[in-house]
Amino acid sequence: MSTLSFALRDSATMLRRDVRHSLRNLSMTLSGLLVPIIILVLFVYVFGGAMGAGQGLVAQGGAYIDYIAPGIIILTVGSGGATTAINLCMDMSEGIIARFRTMAIFRASVLTGQVLGSLIRTMISIGLVIGVALLMGFRPTANPVAWIAALSIIALFTFALTWMAVVFGLVGKTPAGANSLSLIFQLLSFTSSALVRPDLMSGGVRWFSEYQPFTPVINTLRGLLLGTPIGNSAILAVAWCTGLTLIGYLWARALYNRNSVR
């Protein structure tokens, strides 16, 4: 068998391991799926009245849920990333990882298995968020092609963030450390166009919001789902996702290989 097929086979094996772990840790997995829905409900029914009116969204004839649903989808990706970082960090402290390192397997498969598992978990979580948002009055105007494009950009973004989460899980020596590093995801979500229009933010934050990676992803998603103008956001989003994936993968691999014979 070729190197590539070994890599795929070992990654698939590690993915099965990760899925089994998720099923064994069912309460943790379920709470991971529920938290984004709670946030969605919270933002629409608790903050929605004030924030929607304040941003003039209702006056423009749009519902706040239409504005915020794509933002919550991105928030979901971020919180999935935090879970990944913690899980990975805990897994790395297990003796079985040392065993994997002494076996003739595709080395990065330990990481790719977890990344693929996280991707699946996050996509399920996003499916739930979209479902609940639709029940709450989210009315996307997208046609099937736009939906496929939207799901693709979500998957691309999740993949990128998950690799960065793996880095956080490896850099943070303890689950608590990994978790605090993942706060970066929350910070980027809140300072993006996810919940509030950047043009309503002040000075430096506004500038940061316009240039940070999450904003073009959300704007692209909004454009695809609701028909708002996309402009160059799509290109920026794909570029950011590709860049973060590449950096995350190479960095994570280097961290995993450190202190050991290659």
Binding site: T13, R17, A98
Partner: protein, 313 residues
């Protein structure tokens, strides 16, 4: 053929020299024991030989492959059961074995066949569908070793395979190790117990503070260390004096009223001593048998007692 060869193996962590020029030769189909106290460098040696960490200097060949140039060829030939359990705690015993089978690309049917055979062989059939959290220490260790064997390794590293096990589990593990070597694999094990090395190993190397202080067969090593002795306690000085006359060349302690009679540790020699005392109708207050332990080995070979015992590296 030598399955493990090291020349001038060195490793330091910061300023602390852990291995200082280790030369080992382990022949195919034999058990080689690395004997030493905590902190001697045993685990570090296993970690280097099993490709977990890199050496700072020296040459290593395992199963005919250079460790640095062909790590994957080495990995394909070895199996490791460490001091710390290397099982997946969220998978059942059977799932752990099937995971190993998948990573060795065995195919579903062959994987299941081998997992079932190993569960049977290591007496884990009843526990196969339970999580390792419910296992006893001995069962965990057996599952750990079973996982190592899924890939049919030619060289097996066992890092303190019986540390923390009760005597019964220890003897089970010893039998498993003997059976393994009978099937032709080569085993390098580390241990703190002289008895374990003596029971299992064809050759023993004694490691002390990163250096090999002795190497040889168990018999060769035992000839270099003081034998055991029988310690006899007497009620008074006259009893001690008569016993000294009866037994001849023995170490005598007038303050403690004791005699130390050299022995090979066998029941026969103990009985011979007691018979002679009995024959002279000499009363003995107490008898204890002292067999040589790691402390004696270290004292004999290094001139200093095993000072690092109890220190965890």
């Amino acid at each position: 053929m030598m399955m493990i060869e090291t020349r001038g193996l060195c490793k330091s962590f910061g300023n602390h020299v852990v291995l200082d020029g280790i030369d080992l030769d382990v022949a195919e189909g034999t058990i080689f024991a690395l004997l030493g106290p905590n902190g001697a460098g045993k685990t570090t040696t296993v970690q280097i030989l099993s490709t977990l960490i890199g050496a700072d200097g020296g040459e290593v060949r395992v199963a005919g492959h250079d460790l640095v140039r062909e790590p994957d060829a080495v990995r394909a030939a070895i199996g490791v059961t460490g001091q710390f359990s290397a099982v997946d705690n969220l998978l059942t015993g059977e799932e752990n074995l099937l995971l190993m089978a998948d990573l060795h690309h065995l195919g579903r049917r062959e994987g299941q066949r081998r997992a079932a055979a190993l569960l049977e062989r290591f007496d884990l059939v009843d526990a196969a569908r339970k999580l390792p959290a419910t296992y006893s220490g001995g069962m965990r260790r057996r599952l750990d070793l079973a996982m190592t064997l899924v890939g049919n390794p030619r060289v097996i590293f066992l890092d303190e395979p019986t540390t923390g096990l009760d005597p019964r589990s220890r003897h089970t593990m010893w039998q498993i190790i003997r059976d393994l070597v009978a099937s032709g694999v080569t085993i390098l094990l580390t241990t703190q117990y002289l008895e374990e090395a003596d029971q299992l190993a064809d050759r023993i190397a004694v490691l002390d503070q990163g250096k090999l202080v002795a190497q040889g067969t168990p018999d060769e090593l035992k000839r270099r260390i003081p034998g055991g002795h029988i310690r006899l306690q007497f009620a008074d000085a006259s009893g001690l004096a008569s016993a000294t006359r009866t037994l001849g060349e023995v170490a005598r302690d007038d303050n403690e009223l004791t005699l130390q009679v050299p022995t090979d540790g066998s029941v026969r020699s103990l009985r011979a001593v007691l018979d002679r005392l009995d024959h002279e109708a000499l009363a003995v207050n107490g008898v204890s048998v002292h067999t040589p332990d790691l402390d004696d080995v270290f004292f004999a070979l290094t001139g200093h007692p095993d000072t690092q015992k109890g220190n965890v590296r």
